[in-house]
């Protein structure tokens, strides 16, 4: 097997993994959450069943919905899968990863969000518009913080290419770096906001006043809703993997050999399991904060990211 063809196979494997593993991860988080709250869970595979069921349901469209509304689910899903091809999940040698760096990744997520927001307003209902405006508020604060955090990591690893950065981290000795610690904290806060988890947003609620993301997607149905939900699951998985790739990529394959891929899968599963536990711990311990507090929350993320960058210059 030639080198390039092996990496193409790895790439395909990775995209498939991301797409088909995502509902499992969502299911894992829900399962843990049910356990933590002493409820009976619907099982680890329930998200698959939900998506499967939704694909066979009829699509109900609002009367004055334009093409944007119909186009959005595919756009969002496509963009998210594209992001899945860029982020090193199982191997640092994904060929597509070289074409887009971490800034492009942020832009891809932004594109998906932009269309979601348009679609939310397109249906012409009050909730959709409210959801869109809230989502954009969160995004406008989260993105600078995200970039700042990412820049800090790029500075430390002297590259903005994700696979290159991950490669550097895997191969360098473990060091106590205050800049990375701050960046990690900031990244965790941003990931919570970006994936719409408690305490910023509650993915399980449909209560009018507190919804952010859900309000925006309220009008979708049938296969459109299936795609949106699926994309949401993938996004959660991707942020978890991005965190892993940037801060704890040890165990990830650097080549295309079968053995290293197996190790990579095992470690990835273990890390995701741990992240799932962490999410559940946060979600059961904290209450959702008032929407007016969200800017402060993200301000703290921005501050942490900036401190990370400053301490890179000052202390390292």
């Amino acid at each position: 097997m030639t080198n390039s063809s092996s990496s193409i196979i790895v790439e395909c494997l990775q995209v498939a993994t991301v797409v088909f593993l995502a509902p499992l991860f969502t299911g894992w988080v829900r399962l843990l959450k049910c356990r933590a709250q002493a409820r009976t869970s619907a099982g680890l595979l329930q998200p698959y069943r939900d998506i499967y069921k939704l694909f066979f349901k009829e699509v109900a469209l609002a009367e004055n919905a334009s093409w944007i509304f119909r186009f959005t689910p595919y756009m969002v899903f496509g963009a998210t899968v594209m992001a899945g091809a860029i982020i090193p999940v199982i191997s640092t040698r994904a060929p597509l990863s070289a074409t887009a760096d971490i800034i492009a990744l942020v832009a891809i997520f932004a594109l998906a969000r932009f269309f979601s927001a348009l679609a939310g307003m397109d249906a012409g209902t009050a909730f959709g518009g409210m959801g869109s405006s809230r989502e954009m508020m969160v995004a406008s604060l989260a993105e600078p913080a995200m970039l700042m955090s990412v820049f800090t990591i790029s500075l430390v690893n002297r590259s903005t290419s994700l696979s290159q950065m991950t490669h550097v981290i895997v191969n360098s000795p473990i060091m106590l770096r205050p800049s990375l610690a701050f960046a990690l904290l900031a990244f965790a806060l941003i990931a919570i906001a970006e994936t719409g988890r408690i305490p910023v947003d509650n993915p399980a609620t449909h209560l009018e006043l507190t919804m952010i993301h859900e309000a925006m997607c309220l009008e979708f149905s049938g296969r459109h809703l299936a795609l949106i939900e699926w994309a949401k699951g993938i996004k959660l998985l991707l942020f978890a993997s991005l965190g892993i790739a940037l801060f704890a990529p040890w165990g990830m394959a650097t080549g295309g050999t079968l053995q290293s891929l197996v190790i990579s899968y095992v470690t990835l599963t273990a890390k995701l399991a741990v992240i799932g536990v962490a999410i559940v711990l946060i979600e059961t311990r904290l209450a959702k904060m008032r929407i007016f507090r969200v800017p402060e929350f993200l301000g703290a993320a921005f501050l942490l990211a900036t401190l990370g960058m400053l301490s890179y210059f000052m202390l390292e």
Partner: protein, 221 residues
Amino acid sequence: MSHELAIEINSLLAALILLTSFGLLVQRRVYGLLHIFAWQGVFLSVSTAIVGYSAGLNHLYISAAMTLVIKVFALPYILYVLIHKLRIKKEVEDMVNIPTTMLIGIAVVIFSYHLTAPIRELSTLMTRSTLAVALSTVLLGLLMMITRKKAVTQIIGFLALENGLFFAATSATYGMPLVVELGVALDILIAAFIFGMFFFQIRTSFDSLDLKEMEKLKDLD
């Protein structure tokens, strides 16, 4: 403990001290402020001890112990008792809103980094890079005193400022001569008693510890 590891731990502690300074700036609750302040003292004390260990300077252990006793236990305890006794409102109102304060704070850190640049270049000590953090802590304490209008928060800002000075002494010169450090510690203790008495005086004459009441002394009245 190797020398490199000591440097790494020390810069991590410096980063944590910086983080606590910002924490003091953004924290809303009085008890939260006390906790953050105590943590700052812990980091400061550990950092001093580590520097003392790796530089082989015994007098830094005394400083570290003094910091631990005064800044981590005594002062937060005194403040806690005062707050409890005077039934101070838990929420702290601020003059400038928190995001703005944070941005100013970041600017302050950059400013201190530039100001201390010549010293960093001249110094050969392992702690030289933390001097910028020390000056930032001083200036952030100052910022906190400016932006907060409660007697308690001003005092906490003042004490955080003292922490920064102490940290500066450690990072620039491995600590001042012992006689100076002891004297400074004594002064801080006296200051603690004075502000304790002040709280009662202010409380009895203004019925609150809010310094907004205290704007009577102007030239034109």
